[in-house]
Symmetry: C2
Subunit: 556 residues, 2 copies
């Protein structure tokens, strides 16, 4: 395809290394590095939210050891769009790496600036460079990037064609093929088809919905369903969706305008996204937003609240409304609540709790699948097939998915008329070498999760989470043996059982006997402590069937 350049490793055909550091084998914390010779280009820097087992963690960012170890090689960075799972880790990552050009579309960079400023990172500390869709940029000597418009649930979303001496990579970014996008600008399929004809060496494509047959509904269909639903409602309407669903919110503003409802945006992230999107010209407001005080004089059917809380977060606006602890607004009979969203896996219970509370309050509640007021931002099987058919890649890397999604995406590709010659199911940290005639994993680099909790980044590891889980499941029992003047044992517990004097005194007795026995035998204090631990462990297990975390202490 191309001749080896001088910078390519000697003695080998020219090759590119694709190094996913996040987002490969998972949905979340997307970040990918490309290395060609002694140059690295990075794509995105997103975060992930913890699952139920990662207790107390606020968020998760990717490990970037690989980038830190090769910091001098990084020539530039590109951002595909402004969702948290693509830009949310930047405030943690960018300050730890050399300042290089970071390219992104206006809305994306607007959201990044907002985020960096929250962390006190100044404009001068980063080199953000605005690009338009279809712009081309060169990063280092070897990376030629051409941005492509791809429709998604946020405007200014991009895939890109990456031309290197080893060949052309087509990366879809997050996408669905929405034929009626809110901003009237569909995906650039013609350019993908042309690239396919010219020769795409590797396709990296969004696997999120690889298990869903058919097509993902258009945002326009969601808007039509919302308009029909809202037009039939008499009272106040409260709608919740992701704050980042700028396209849907745009449609909603037009619906509200046509139906004579004024819009109140409620919730910090809802306001933040709206402000940035307005500033970058991505959110047209037919009527100015009002505050909840300003709409108090209007009739109920003239009010539409757009709220945070679609994932059941108890402290977001919908959560506070459902639990009756919102400072300014109280739900009442006659109100309608629309959940223009689906729970993300893991949030089902939290959302269900809120939905039940809403029913108990007596408001009318509308949500999928009964009401078709939500659509995914990711393409289903037909859309994935369209991209594969147009790009006609030699090699294929299903990305942005868990193994189930990657493998079903790979199977889908094999059913098409011109399947890829080879597909790899990669993981974070895999070094995927790709060249005109090779496509394989040649090694691994460190990759994984860094936990962010409170002010701490990376000071919580899986060992700490394991302790949290044990205490959360079984509680804790602390035994303090004080040896002087005469040995006695104090116990304190949390989360073990309801205070129970008889059990407490039995445990103290068992512990004291162990301590006294050890002292009589003149054991070392560590051994006395271990004896106390063992005796209490056995007794508690037998008496209660439980295994609390036990902490034995000896005060000499």
């Amino acid at each position: 395809m191309t001749k080896p350049s001088q910078d390519a490793p000697t003695g080998a055909a020219p090759h590119l290394e694709v190094v996913p550091l996040g987002g490969m084998g998972e949905i979340g914390k997307n970040i990918t590095a490309y290395r060609y010779g002694d140059e690295i280009m990075v794509v995105d820097g997103g975060l992930a939210f913890p699952d139920a087992h990662q207790m107390g963690i606020d968020l998760i960012i990717p490990r970037i050891d690989y980038l830190q170890q090769h910091a001098g090689l990084i020539k530039g960075w590109i951002l595909t769009h402004g969702h948290e799972d693509h830009i949310g880790a930047l405030p943690y990552i960018l300050p730890r790496l050399p300042k290089v050009p970071v390219y992104g579309a206006p809305l994306t960079l607007g959201l990044v600036r907002e985020k960096l400023s929250e962390f006190g990172i100044k404009d001068g500390d980063v080199d953000l460079r605005e690009v338009d869709l279809n712009d081309k940029v060169r990063i280092g000597k070897h990376f030629h990037v051409e941005f492509l418009r791809m429709t998604h649930s946020i405007p200014d979303n991009m895939g890109y064609l990456l031309t290197t001496p080893a060949g052309v990579v087509m990366h879809t970014g997050d996408f669905k093929l929405d034929e009626q996008p809110a901003d009237g600008k569909p995906s650039d399929l013609a350019r993908i088809e042309q690239a396919g004809k010219d020769g795409v060496l590797l396709l990296i494509s969004d696997s999120t919905n690889a298990e869903r047959p058919g097509r993902t509904p258009s945002e326009a269909e969601v808007a039509r369903n919302l308009e029909e639903l809202i037009s039939g409602l008499k009272g106040r309407v409260f709608l919740t969706t992701f704050a980042s669903q700028v396209n849907r919110i745009q449609n909603l503003l037009h619906i509200a305008h046509r139906q004579g409802r004024r819009v109140v945006m409620e919730g910090r992230s809802m306001l933040k996204y709206a402000q940035v999107a307005q500033a970058t010209g991505h959110l047209e407001t037919p009527d100015p937003f009002l505050t909840s005080e300003e709409v108090s004089g209007l009739q109920d059917q003239q009010i539409l609240y757009v709220c945070t809380g679609s994932q059941g977060q108890p402290m977001a606006v919908l959560g506070r409304l459902a639990f009756g602890n919102h400072a300014k607004i109280a739900l009442r009979r006659g109100d309608s609540v629309i959940l223009s969203s689906n729970p993300i896996p893991g949030n089902e219970e939290a959302v269900n709790l809120i939905v039940n509370r809403l029913y108990e309050i007596g408001v009318d509640v509308y949500y999928p699948p009964t009401y078709r007021v939500h659509a995914s931002g990711h393409g289903s099987q037909e859309e994935l097939a369209t991209i594969l058919n147009l790009a006609r890649p030699k090699f294929f890397l299903p990305w942005h998915g868990e193994p189930r999604h990657q493998i079903n995406h790979a199977k889908l590709a094999q059913t098409l008329p011109r399947p890829p010659k080879r597909t790899l199911i990669a993981k974070n940290g895999d070094v995927v070498r790709v060249g005109p005639d090779e496509f394989k994993v040649t090694g691994t680099v460190p990759a994984g999760a860094v936990y962010v909790d409170g002010l701490g980044v990376g000071d919580i590891g899986d060992d700490v989470l394991l302790d949290r889980a044990s205490m959360g499941q079984e509680g804790i029992l602390i035994m303090t043996a004080v040896l002087h003047p005469t040995p006695h044992v104090e116990i304190v517990s949390r989360g073990f059982v309801r205070s129970n004097r008889e059990l407490d005194s039995q445990i103290r007795k068992v512990a004291l006997e162990a301590v006294e026995g050890g002292l009589r035998e003149k054991k070392r204090l560590e051994d006395v402590r271990d004896d106390m631990y063992g005796a209490v462990r056995r007794f508690v297990r037998k008496a209660t069937g439980r295994n609390p975390v036990l902490i034995p202490m000896i005060v000499d």
Copy 2:
């Protein structure tokens, strides 16, 4: 309708009290009491499984204070079917109440006996009385019960007509209207229609799927889909479903026989249900079950494993297979795994984890909705409407559902040609008074959850769970100030942050300063302890942004 009997409360029309103690406003731990005059009849005694917030709890049983307070009035008990959410609490409940006749169908009582014997409760301690479908029994003077066959996902499932001097109650029990049940015995709709013509005062009906349009697919459809799927598979097949899905397992045994596969039942509960169902004649085995050792000589396509673990439990068979720690069986490429189940709300993440592991192992994985290999045991809107139309109740109590299900069931009833005159959305503990011309909540009795954890029943309350949640989220930090010979502070933490000497020494310093200050001012020791607590709380919050559970101790 009927005249007041002598035992009816004087000065009022005859009335019945329906007192749901579990299963009303929730899905789980079903138990209902009926009171007429000075007689009480009880229905079912089920358990619930904890949600994510009820950490470390094994299971939940209903509070039975009401029954204990009126123990002398209880005349009998009936059981609708053998699922855990209807009989699982009996070993905890029955021993605390007087011995009264407990009526149930053969399979139901078989499962109850098995369960009681696990708890060491002897046959003579309870008065189990076998009834057949369509049998009639009298309980006390006033309760005339006629059992009705209703199809569900377990054989021997029953609803009933309860005739009292106040009128007739029709209770569906759990049901779907399966036209092709595995045992060939459809629901007794003709009897319900007749009862409707004769006059049903109150209908209590299953709301589980009140939000689902249409009909729930028949078990026969699931069986056809399973047969088609399995007939195309070449290697070993591992199928998981609820062990209590006796009807589905019956169909599977026939499928295996027709396809020349021998069946291995794996998992304790799978074996237990199969044994009881075989003993009561509800599970016909065309070929005897084999063990995993016995099938080792067979070819792969001659083997069907039926396993526990459909809800993602890591220690059940499928979980151990997925994580590669099953003692006898290892999955390999060429195997197929069928999840003939859906995750119960709350179990999605656990099931997803296992599905991904299966893909990573390289086995083929089949599950809904892509493969239609599961159907709910509860009827959807059309089936609910059928019951309402046949029973034509004057009053309606949507049961076996959360508020969202109850309210949608109530709304459905209002759309029918002959809607109930009144519908109540009741909660556990409500005393629902029903008579020829009245239907209202007249009071409440204690109702709610008793947590079972290890050997403890009820020794864990919401306060203990709150402590567990706090420690699980933030960890714990224990500070022990030892005052002699000179004051010093020891700290121990779990689940807080990775061991960090500098932070530890800062915390010790802050604590010690507070202690020394307090001692100088000759404060009381409690106050010194509180000072240490406050100082460390403030310091830790500022230094780490976190709020671990703090335990201050002073050793004088």
